[in-house]
Assembly symmetry: none
Homo-oligomer: 420 residues x 2
């Protein structure tokens, strides 16, 4: 089975916007057992779109497009594809109703241009958009005029905004694919997320012991992100389940607590889950991460049950007033120090009456470094009812990466400290 | 002039890695006045690579590839392209010397496989790699066997790692392009970033009045992100400056304070800049945004000069203890209310001794909504020395979008309130 992806949008070829659809869709499809053969990106230009779509239709069993379904004059995809396949566009009253409702619910006047989004090519299935106005479309080109012997292809048109595309893919596209174009072989795939070791060290620990399973069909992959390494275990066909299961056992035995989650669970979701299960609460005192730890935790539904309070104490004043950090400690050791990190965590825990408190203080840069404490130096402290531990890290990265890595280290410090 | 980009790498089509090359290269080229017509991504597979490269060569004056130049078995691009163009590969002693030096400087033994990277197709120019081992290559296909009448094309092969590709592009590719393929016409391009109106409403306001300029060559584009719409004004050739300037005047006149920045400046960077220029400080009291406003502001270098403190007061307790919100207000009006938002902002301003304070309280969902205050309801308050204003918004989105939109509304509320 051949699958191609076409992303439309002049802003993509002008470099104004990062194409996140490619990775997201490829990842979803891979996890379902599909392989994408080619991805193409073209501008909002009629000739380019028709050329790219007809070329893909000449090769692929499934063509997925993103973008160009909206109401403005540069949204051309729906019209052009209808034209290309010789399908008439007609107004779908149900879709129009949804669009009208979308505006009504938001107490906004529907612009006249919004109506075009309810035009549906003959024979197309409407993929409902619960998070925006333009519906997706699924069209079976049977016969496919662009392919040798008219071999049929599916064409799926998805809207550009990620928060519309992603739920639509999960809710409408996956069931359609499973039914109409099931993957050639059953795929069993498991992702183990690890934190604390780099990619080559993870590989060094597990590749040898897994070699036998790899020889009998296990697909072993690594994906290194900053502060995390995913181990991907996959197998196809009969016996796939048992192969992956054996591999998982080996990896868990070798990596132990480095494995923090299965699948897509983030570090913050892991932590909210673990704290909830243990009925424990958390307070935060952030200096150099500037609220990122609180932000990550509150991305997780249910965070309110465990996060009592977060304090972004950028200034010495705020460290003193809200956390009770002593002026003596600030003067003697500086705001970026073991002693201040400790007092911040203890202060936050006490002031917020939480079971645990995490604090971070460090030098994000670009300015503010010294020889003893260069840019990238961070202290992370964890306080509980019995004790306070402080770790020193060195994260010499750009500002946003620095904040990400530091927040990851802090969250992981608490994760590993929680009783089993 | 037609330009195409080809990104190779199986990890891209498996969705394991985000393709950042597309945006970066397209942006660089656009800023130089070039337009990329198409971008294609294919796996590390000989047939796919040869098909994609020969298709691009049949259409384009310039084809840029990324990836596949390294030493491992899935690095195929150099060999395949030499083969495709019938060019012999010969070992370049100077390049080999550089590779050997690269390892020597790092006190590492050079693996035998590294040597292949010094193989250069006949007639190719070597683009020095100062940050890795694989050099880039520039080949003029003259005549080009894949194009009608043998019309010549340039083929530029760049290494995959961003920190190798980016300096190589700036140091070697830009001078080569300027010399060999100067942009057909000078491009003047201006982005105006707006907040507060959706894409179709922005278009409704400006498209008509700009129509005359569009007819005389203005390129008008929109890019909608959540909570922001970019208006792109571009023109080419003589008179481009004046066309764009006239268009800017029209847009600014029609959209007024909705335009918050020019070019790439984010809302948070705009605000840090404006507060710094006015020597004013800010305090934050965040409930439903959970630290995202603080996080966004502290992504901007220099934020420490304006952000005094951020309080993530998720619980009623924390609203009372840290912000002085009255128990009566919490009981009578609920935590998500005009009155509590007002008290939060006033409390944060006072406690942190800041010039301004922003507060947000709302219902992110999925749970917690009621008929009077459904999920998505938010109150944002802004306090300064004279008064406190409260705005109510309705943001019925998924959790992360909700936080983003709400943080944008809060930042924008302050931005519009700052004296000119």
């Amino acid at each position: 089975m051949r699958i191609e992806l076409i992303n439309t949008g002049s802003e993509l070829l002008l470099g104004r916007v990062l194409n996140t659809h490619q990775q997201w869709l490829c990842r979803q499809l891979a996890d379902l057992g599909y392989e994408v053969s080619r991805q193409t990106c073209i501008a909002d230009d009629a000739r380019q779109i028709q050329a790219a779509v007809s070329e893909s239709l000449s090769r692929a069993d499934l063509v997925i497009t993103t973008g160009g379904l909206g109401p403005t004059s540069d949204d051309l995809t729906r019209d052009l594809i209808a034209q290309l396949l010789g399908r008439e566009l007609t107004l779908d009253p149900e879709t129009l109703g949804r669009i009208e409702q979308f505006f009504a619910q938001r107490h906004r006047t529907m612009p006249a241009s919004a109506k075009v989004q309810a035009l549906i090519p003959a024979g197309a299935r409407v993929l409902r958009n619960d998070n925006g106005t333009a519906p997706g479309l699924a069209i079976e080109a049977r016969p496919n005029p662009f392919r040798a012997e008219g071999r049929p292809s599916w064409l799926i048109l998805l809207p550009g905004p990620p928060r519309e595309l992603r739920p639509m893919f999960a809710e409408s596209v996956v069931p359609l694919l499973t039914r109409e174009l099931p993957p050639p072989e059953r795929l069993v795939c498991l992702i183990l997320k690890t934190s604390g070791l780099g990619e080559s060290l993870v590989e060094e620990k597990i590749a040898g012991p897994l070699q036998k399973l790899v020889e009998s069909g296990l697909e072993l992959g690594y994906c290194a992100r900053i502060g995390e390494v995913d181990v991907r275990l996959a197998a196809r066909g009969g016996g796939a389940e048992s192969t992956v299961h054996q591999a998982e056992d080996i990896v868990r035995r070798l990596l132990g607590p480095l494995v923090f989650a299965v699948g897509d669970e983030s570090m913050e979701a892991t932590l909210v889950r673990m704290l909830t299960e243990r009925a424990k609460t958390l307070a935060l005192a952030e200096s150099c991460t500037g609220g990122m730890i609180a932000h990550r935790l509150t991305n997780v539904p249910g965070a309110s049950a465990v996060l009592k309070c977060g304090l972004v104490t950028y200034s010495n004043e705020a460290k003193r007033d809200f956390l009770g950090v002593s002026v003596a400690a600030l003067e003697e050791h500086g705001a970026v120090s073991d002693v201040v990190a400790r007092q911040m965590a203890q202060g936050a825990r006490q002031m917020c009456r939480a079971d645990y408190a995490l604090s971070v203080t460090g030098i994000a840069g670009p300015g503010g470094g010294s020889e003893a404490k260069p840019v990238g130096t961070v202290y992370v402290a964890l306080a509980d009812e019995k004790a306070t531990v402080v770790e020193r890290y060195f994260n010499p990265f750009d500002r946003e990466t620095f904040k990400w890595v530091t927040s990851q280290q802090a969250l992981d410090l608490l994760r590993r400290a929680l009783p089993a």
